[in-house]
Symmetry: C2
Subunit: 564 residues, 2 copies
């Protein structure tokens, strides 16, 4: 490809809209352009890179026996009503009416549609297993789209769905997909972790996320330094071992704490550590109040809490209700005398002589102990912290930021029951199909690759993703001999590799800068040494440069490519 | 691919929803399934065929120097308001609001989005020409979607847009795309005609449609049997040569014609031919009334009329207005005494002693002549008929039905002016970019291929589109030797061709029927003659069968493929 004929509008300046490196570089390297909030166009260079990711995904999925389909973007409301997600999905589901006033949505995911397709075609156990996937444009009306392709509203996703006759086979498929995903992200040259994950609105019984490690990641992942336990912090279990009390219970005292509402204020005022404080937070679970107790330095994990309470809605109680229940201003709630169910985090089991609110404005209790009130249930309802230990092996934990590029779910019968997707087993008995689903954000994966592969000068594409493998560049474009050699080399190299030939009549500095910016793995420069029939080969990744005789060029490139 | 592992739900019965062959066969051959009105899922077999069409399009576009991009599906209203199409596009444009109550639409076409992209990147004449295309899912909320992929609401389209510095270059690009399109449809093995076409809501200065000839086509095309003139009937010009009058003008008479409103009724009642009658139709052009006169056997072409009147809206006047203007019931309007502008079709120039309404309920005039009233303008405002002659060479005309698979437009500056897409010319002067646009319905092309390539037993895929080239089939699947040979052949043939291996434990009849139905070009059957180391090769297209020694199979297949 000749640069002069290629639509590659590179930018010298960093666009103000971009906050993270991948976004910045994808704009600067002419890969994408914003149409409107969270909606991007792919330019030729960006689309070619995107297709490289897609093809890796396609190859690995096909190799595992999955089959590609293409499902519609526009989906009828009826299917979503049948699964119950029409109401539950929230505002990310873009709903609209057609000209006949019938309701539809733009597909944010395709469990309903694929289950509808499969239930109509599958009759018997002989028609199973099926593993179908698509690579397709989806829409989620994110409230705050940001970071370019990392969190956009319109995005390209590979979503796959498996259909098995029983749990054993479904799990086999699940773990096969787990391996396929590892292969895909390895081929994308990503440094990633597979972590246990929450199932969210998709639902199902268990799930893993594939997390690319990066400072800008929006997810926090926790992993053990000793064993291979790793989880999304939303999911990570906390195991609280019993420890023998360090002090004897003292007798409770009410203390005047005027205007001290927060843990910080109480800590300072009473001169105690946050570990000595118990926070009392009142929630409405399906509109019924419940109090949750956690230590002052811990945070409640509402996903765990909602799962524990098995409720449809969970919100913090508004101030009016808190005041009504505690007979005090907000900030002074405590378990003593509180007449609603009380859930205590497991860590409370080890606490003695702690501080709580007194259910009386401007008063707290000190030296509270577990005998002083009634706990309905102890449970793990908080986020894990660096002071906790690995729930598997008690090893030390590490925390990192991650970008979720893949997510796999064992769905079980959630959708097959809702939409009545059944088959007849060998005994002629009707059974629900067991499902799994498997997603990869294609655009986000591309962004994550750039997030992990760049330097201050630009992108450093892994060979597997690079839109071109070679950037060919002549310095003295006024010299006829140089141009002829460049053309000849371009022709020769193009029969083996995808070559990008910078034939522009521009200053060398501009060409070198663009070459670094767009990050093609090898740069071949026709410069001074052309007289000696030599060209310069620069490896973008290492910065290494080599002077190589033209006659030996092909062989040398092959060798270098093997090291990339 | 093994049939047993492939999601190919073929149907024995003809689905009731399908009215035309391609739709019927795509359903029966497990290529597509309907999700809801005008919205389809592509199953693996259908998707593979679709991708073959896409790749032909991509190869030919790339070869011509066009570059692939991918634009968003969801488009902000602002751009459509700027082009004026937000109001004008009608109900086919699916409009909706996002969570922040901002208006968007699902892109039915991308002139606005691409012009917005290009105007932001192009500064100078050195940045042009650009020829960008995409293959992407579009949505048009058709009032009556039908015929499967022929007229669906969600569909896949190749849409391309060119940007040139002046008319000469823009036309060069236009004719280059014209040739590209001919190559594409030729490679798809389609019998097609290129016809002059109307520009419709896209706008622009001239346009061609690529029409696949088929009885089920929704367009009528007219072409000359003598020269190469061909046009969509909406567009076809009518040239009316002057002929000397066959009779002398007689004097006008008012005739009582009780309850005779229509041409048929008058023809019968007065015992005259429709050629002797002039219909007077009253329209509202931008709400102003105008009468249009055409011969009784002719039909008004409202597209021509609207272009002539240069009006934004054109509707037939409602009965109330007609009564008011003619002082008579509907059905008795005539030009005499009618006090509004009168447009007469050119064919009236040759009429003498004709019949018109009398603007009086239950009365007509006979022996009317052109002197009897005032005509504002003669013009070509009707559809061409088989009695007309070629507007270029006066040759005889032929009419056929066609499926529009491609449409190219010279847009000129319609969108670049509306969206201010300019460049600086060599003299530093700001100029509007000259645009063209080029569409291909990918799914519709696939359907058209099947419409032209099938017989009573099923599809007959052209080699270029067939998802597999060879259908391998063993009859006696209980025989271990047969199975081993089949597996071995499958392996050998798969290294040269895409082979579909029907390894199902089914009766031969079912396998043969499915092979015919899904239309793979060659069927290789391991039958009785396997003992003699021979297999049967059947050519789907001709029905010809050959017994070929296994050792000579590869060579023979290569030869046969060359004839397909």
């Amino acid at each position: 490809m000749y640069y002069s004929r290629y639509f590659l509008p590179t930018l010298k300046e960093t666009p103000s809209e971009a906050e993270i490196n991948s976004h910045r570089l994808m704009l600067r390297a002419g890969m994408i352009r914003k149409l409107t909030a969270g909606i991007y166009s792919y330019l030729p260079f960006g689309l070619t890179a995107l297709r490289k990711v897609e093809n890796i995904v396609r190859e690995e999925m096909n190799r595992a026996g999955a089959q590609e389909v293409l499902l519609p973007t526009v989906q009828p409301a009826e299917l979503w009503q049948a699964s119950g997600r029409w109401e539950r999905y929230g505002k990310e589901l873009l709903r609209f009416k057609d000209r006949h006033e019938r309701f539809y949505c733009m597909g944010p995911t395709h469990e309903e549609v694929i289950t509808d397709l499969v239930r109509k075609e599958v009759r018997s156990y002989r028609d199973l297993p099926l593993n179908l996937y698509q690579i397709q444009t989806k829409f989620r009306d994110e409230i705050r789209p940001r970071f370019g392709l990392m969190r956009s509203r319109e995005f390209i996703m590979k979503d796959g769905y498996s259909f098995d006759i029983d749990d054993r086979n479904a799990e086999k498929t699940y773990w096969q997909m787990y391996d396929v995903y590892k292969n895909i992200f390895t081929r994308c040259d990503l440094d990633f972790k597979v972590v246990e994950a929450e199932t969210g609105t998709i639902g199902g019984s268990f799930s893993h996320e594939f997390m690319v490690l990066a400072e800008v990641g929006e997810d926090t992942i926790v992993f053990c330094q000793n064993c291979d336990y790793a989880a999304n912090i939303e999911k990570a279990e906390v195991v609280t071992p019993a420890i023998s009390p360090s002090e004897r219970p003292k007798s409770r005292k009410e203390i005047h704490t005027p205007n001290k509402h927060t843990v910080e204020e109480i800590t300072e005022f009473l001169n105690v550590s946050p570990q000595k404080i118990v926070k009392t937070i009142i929630y409405l679970a399906d509109e019924k109040p419940v109090a949750v107790l956690v230590r002052g330095d811990h945070d409640i994990n509402e996903i765990k809490l909602q799962r524990l309470l098995d409720c449809k809605t969970l919100i913090m109680a508004p101030p009016g209700i808190v005041k009504n229940l505690t007979k005090a201003e907000v900030g002074f709630a405590g378990p003593i005398g509180l007449n609603i169910p009380i859930i205590a985090d497991n860590s409370l089991k080890n606490m003695v002589n702690f501080v709580t609110g007194a259910n009386k404005t401007d008063y707290h209790f000190i030296n509270v102990n577990l005998d002083d009130f009634k706990i309905s249930q102890f449970a793990d309802v908080r986020f894990i912290t660096s002071e906790d230990r690995c729930p598997r092996c008690r090893g030390e934990l590490e925390f990192k930021k991650g970008i979720e590029v893949g997510h796999i779910f064992k769905l079980g019968t959630k959708y097959s029951e809702a939409l009545k997707a059944t088959y007849l087993d060998a005994q002629g008995k009707e059974q629900f199909i067991i499902m799994g689903c498997y997603g990869i954000g294609i655009g986000r994966t591309l962004a994550a690759i750039i997030e992990q592969h760049h330097d201050e000068n630009g992108i450093i594409f892994p060979l597997s993703i690079a839109p071109f493998q070679i950037y060919l560049l002549a310095i003295d474009t006024k010299n006829q001999k140089v141009l002829e050699t460049a053309e000849k080399l371009y022709g020769q190299l193009s029969s083996h590799w995808q070559v990008f030939y910078d034939n522009r009549d521009e200053r060398p500095g501009i060409k070198f800068k663009d070459a670094d910016l767009i990050g093609i793995p090898l740069r071949i420069t026709l410069g001074r040494d052309l007289k000696k029939e030599k060209v310069e080969v620069k490896i973008r990744k290492t910065g290494e440069t080599l002077l190589i005789p033209i006659t030996e060029l092909k062989l040398n490139i092959e060798k270098i490519m093997q090291t990339l």
